[in-house]
């Protein structure tokens, strides 16, 4: 037990120093001094609650994804039936209950219709995204499969994460963290961001842009009451537009979506000085836009963003170059936001902010300072107490305590972003210092007892370390259980606390048991004391 060959000592010191020295750059930074640039510089990462910044949790609604799939399927089915040779006549398509169902006008078409539908239902690989059943010989019912739906949600979320990343990058914020969480959530963390209003406005915008022809035959009284004539949809005007509060009927089919843009930039109208957004379609989209505008000169078309009509200008002449302007009561900022949103693509699903935490920068600095003072004072008092209680053995405890603090910080510095120091983490650090002495107390008390039972010095020390190790082990396992559960269930700051506890458990066993045993063994060998004061 007390035998420490040189290689073992060298190895222990190597581990200790490798961890403890890594804490130095962070400590030097805390005092405000400069760390020499030639040396490696592992730094303890600070959590958002200490560094200041914004944490935003976004959630998507899976029902919306399901609804969109139904709509897409609706369009595909119509197109397939229309394009069939000869055309297959079908009745209205109902999408109620999350299923698609429609009647065939002629039951003889059943096999042809089925053949046309099968390619639409297949997903990737062998999985089928929809199941088809035929009721009463004429009614087709298409039901989405759970696997297909799950895949659609998954795809939508990875696209959404990408879009969120692009938008945040466009804002020019530094080092944002964007992580998928669970099935439907995205966590966005932006260190240093003090006012997340702009960010939230940007992320809250789905940026689904549509150009649709205005239905001029609709009666204004019907539209006002929300009665849509067949083949049309009603959209309200956007907030801030001159027609706010009114609605507009547009043709359901034959429009263009704004998801085929190559660029979007904010600009101003040279005549009126009003902010607007210049967009550029890709070649395919440009072609379709040219067709639409050529066929409908002198008719109004609506520019619809996220289900709200921005404006409904007249098509004065065909627009052939694939470039267009979106006008509609913008401020310079909202025009810029829309340009960013359009450039980064539309979100496949709306995202709602369900949790937001923003921390100012001063609070963190204040907390670090107070935490450091509390740690130093606590450590100082504790060291006095240990020396008073255990004499020479207390001195060893003190040395192991200091190394313990350095090693925890050092390991965190090596881990970098994986283990950020948070506000509760500071408490964890101070607490770990208090708890780390427990191992030494157990050992020292045991040595004391063994001496009282008449054992000789070396045997008493050996028995002390051996008998105490069982309780030390069990106690640390229970603390690990608590810390792991905290890590699994906790959010940001609490995870930081759990990380400190877990690292602290390992380093405190190492410093309080292994290192002190090495020191005590060395002393016993050198001094060969006949008695120990304990």
């Amino acid at each position: 037990m007390l035998d420490f060959p040189t290689w073992k000592k060298a190895w222990l010191w190597l581990v200790t120093l490798a961890c403890a020295l890594a804490a130095l750059p962070s400590l030097v930074a805390l005092t405000g001094a400069r760390w020499p640039a030639v040396l490696p510089e592992p730094m303890v990462n600070l959590g958002l609650d200490l560094a200041g910044g914004s944490h935003i949790l976004l959630e998507a609604d899976s029902r919306q994804v399901a609804q969109q799939r139904l709509e897409t399927m609706d369009e595909s089915v119509r197109a397939a039936m229309r394009l069939a040779e000869p055309r297959i006549q079908i009745g209205d398509i109902s999408t109620s209950g999350g299923r698609l169902s429609f009647m065939l006008a002629n039951p003889a078409d059943i096999d042809r219709a089925r053949e046309l539908l099968i390619p639409l239902m297949n997903g990737t690989g062998l999985r089928s995204d929809w199941t088809l059943s035929v009721v009463d010989q004429t009614r087709f019912v298409l039901t989405p499969t759970q696997a297909g739906l799950d895949q659609a949600v998954k795809d939508a979320m990875s696209t959404a994460t990408e879009v969120v990343r692009k938008r945040i990058d466009a804002l020019g914020t530094r080092e944002p963290t964007i992580i998928r969480q669970g099935d439907l959530r995205i966590v966005v963390q932006v260190p240093g961001l003090q006012d997340p209003t702009a960010l939230k406005a940007l992320l809250g915008q789905t940026a689904k842009l549509e150009f649709k022809l205005v239905d001029q035959t609709a009666l204004p009284s019907d539209v006002a009451q929300g009665i849509a004539p067949p083949g049309t949809q009603i959209f309200p005007f956007a907030e801030g537009s001159p027609q706010q509060g009114q609605s507009l009927a547009v043709r359901r089919l034959g429009g263009i979506r704004g998801d085929s843009l190559t660029n979007a930039v904010a600009g101003v109208n040279p005549q009126t000085n009003e902010p607007l957004v210049n967009i550029q379609f890709d070649s395919q989209g440009g072609q379709r836009f040219a067709d639409l505008t050529t066929r409908n000169v002198n008719k109004p078309f609506a520019i619809i963003l996220d289900g709200k009509v921005l404006s409904a200008p007249n098509i004065n002449e065909p627009i052939l170059g694939g470039a267009a302007q979106i006008s509609g009561s913008f401020t310079a900022e909202s025009a810029n936001n829309l340009a960013i949103a359009l450039r980064s693509g539309a979100l496949p699903v709306d995202l709602t902010v369900i949790e937001e935490r923003t921390v100012g920068p001063d609070l963190g600095a204040d907390s670090i300072e107070k935490g450091a003072v509390a740690l130093l004072v606590g450590l100082g008092l504790l060291m006095v107490f240990m020396i008073l209680t255990y004499g020479r053995f207390g001195l060893y405890t003190c040395a192991s305590l200091i190394l313990n603090v350095l090693m925890i910080l050092g390991v965190m510095a090596w881990l970098g972003g994986a283990a950020a120091l948070t506000l509760p983490g500071i408490a964890g650090l101070v607490l770990t210092v208090g708890a780390a002495v427990d191992a030494n107390v157990l050992i020292n008390e045991r040595i004391r007892e063994e001496r009282a039972r008449g054992r000789r010095v070396v045997q008493a020390v050996e028995a002390g370390y051996k008998e105490a190790s069982r309780a030390i082990f069990d106690a640390n396992i229970t603390n690990t259980i608590a810390a792991v559960i905290m890590f699994m269930f906790g959010s940001g700051p609490i995870r930081g606390f759990a990380v400190v506890l877990m690292i602290g458990i390992v380093t405190s066993v190492f410093t309080a048991v292994t290192l002190t045993r090495m020191w005590v063994a060395g002393w016993l060998r050198r001094a060969r004391p006949a008695d120990i004061v304990l």
Partner: protein, 325 residues
């Protein structure tokens, strides 16, 4: 050099003689805590009930102008604010309700933050906005259920570990001591109406871990003594175990308290509640390891031979053959 001895050698306090009155008091306190939780309840923060909390510090002022602040924010028409001191006397948290789910909520939250901070800044130019927390009802429900699940899982996980390492009586004893510690700490939070947020759940998890340290040390000694003194009556043996480990219990608890009190007095204001919960837990935990977790072993039927390997049938026959009782 003469060393400090808080507990003299050969201390022999007969703790277990008083186990019934102490149990009675503890059970009463637990009942009172549960009663408080049902009547007064916990002052749940936005983490658990949803809503919005803005923290601000009135730099350079001795105390926050609570009444004026309340009046000004009330006038904005978002409902009545809950304003509480938070850390130092010049720091407050302003809590507001948010409308339930829907797209509206996020917009209202954003507008509310802007208006409240603008209003306060206008009246007190030197105010420092320390943070804004905005949690939807859905997110807060999840945080609450996750937190409670974590507590239950930790308590059960640790008890199972102790059951495996010791005997089932020890597992039950540990679980009972845990419930005792957590209940009394919750009772304190209900009594003082300190804000109960996510951090406090972390504190409860921590105190579960640490208060068990004491249990384990005593239990470990009980196990050792059971194997050493097979004939000793169980109550006497438990007393001996508690006394033998008493010095360690006192020194360790004192060490933890030294650092915790330093943290309470000098540490960051924002984690005062968190530190208070752990400090309370250390007190209660030390007491419960002596008076809750240990006597229960007697009532759970721990016998002097609990750790003696069971006698095989062959051994038994041989013993009977030898004519031993």
């Amino acid at each position: 050099m003469k060393l400090l001895k808080l507990i003299p050698d050969n201390t022999n306090i007969r703790f277990l003689r008083w186990r019934i009155p102490f149990y009675a008091v503890s059970l009463l306190l637990m009942a009172a805590s549960v009663g408080l939780l049902f009547t007064k309840g916990l002052n749940l923060g936005v983490d658990f009930v949803g809503g919005q909390m803005i923290r601000m510090t009135f730099v350079g002022q001795p105390a926050a102008p609570l009444a004026d602040l309340r009046a000004r924010i009330d006038r904005l028409g978002y409902g009545e604010p809950i304003i509480q001191q938070f850390g130092g006397p010049n720091a407050v948290s302003v809590r507001m309700r948010l409308p339930e789910e829907g797209a509206e909520r996020a917009a209202v939250a954003a507008r509310m933050t802007t208006q409240i901070t603008a209003t306060v800044r206008q009246a007190y130019p030197r105010v420092r906005i320390d943070g804004v927390d905005s949690v939807s009802g859905k997110a807060s429900d999840e945080l609450f259920s996750d937190g409670m699940l974590a507590l239950v899982l930790a308590a059960i996980g640790i008890s199972i570990y102790i059951w495996i390492r010791f005997e089932w009586q020890f597992g039950v004893g540990a679980l009972f001591a845990l419930v005792h510690d957590v209940t009394l700490t919750l009772g304190l939070f209900s009594l003082t109406q300190m804000e109960f947020d996510l951090n406090i759940v972390a504190a409860l998890l921590t105190l579960i871990g640490y208060s068990l340290n004491d249990n384990i040390v005593v239990y470990d000694r009980v196990r050792e003594n059971l194997m050493k003194y097979r004939k000793m009556p169980i109550a006497e043996l438990l007393d001996l175990s508690v006394n033998e480990t008493l010095s360690r219990t006192v020194v360790t608890s004192l060490s933890l308290l030294i650092t915790l009190v330093a943290l309470l007095i000098l540490g960051p204001d924002v984690i005062f509640g968190f530190t208070a919960a752990i400090t309370m837990g250390i007190f209660v935990g030390t007491y419960s390891s002596i008076y809750m977790a240990t006597p229960i072993l007697i009532w759970l039927g721990l016998k002097s031979d609990s750790f003696v390997p069971a006698e095989s049938a062959a051994d038994r026959q041989e013993r009977i053959a030898r004519g031993e009782a």
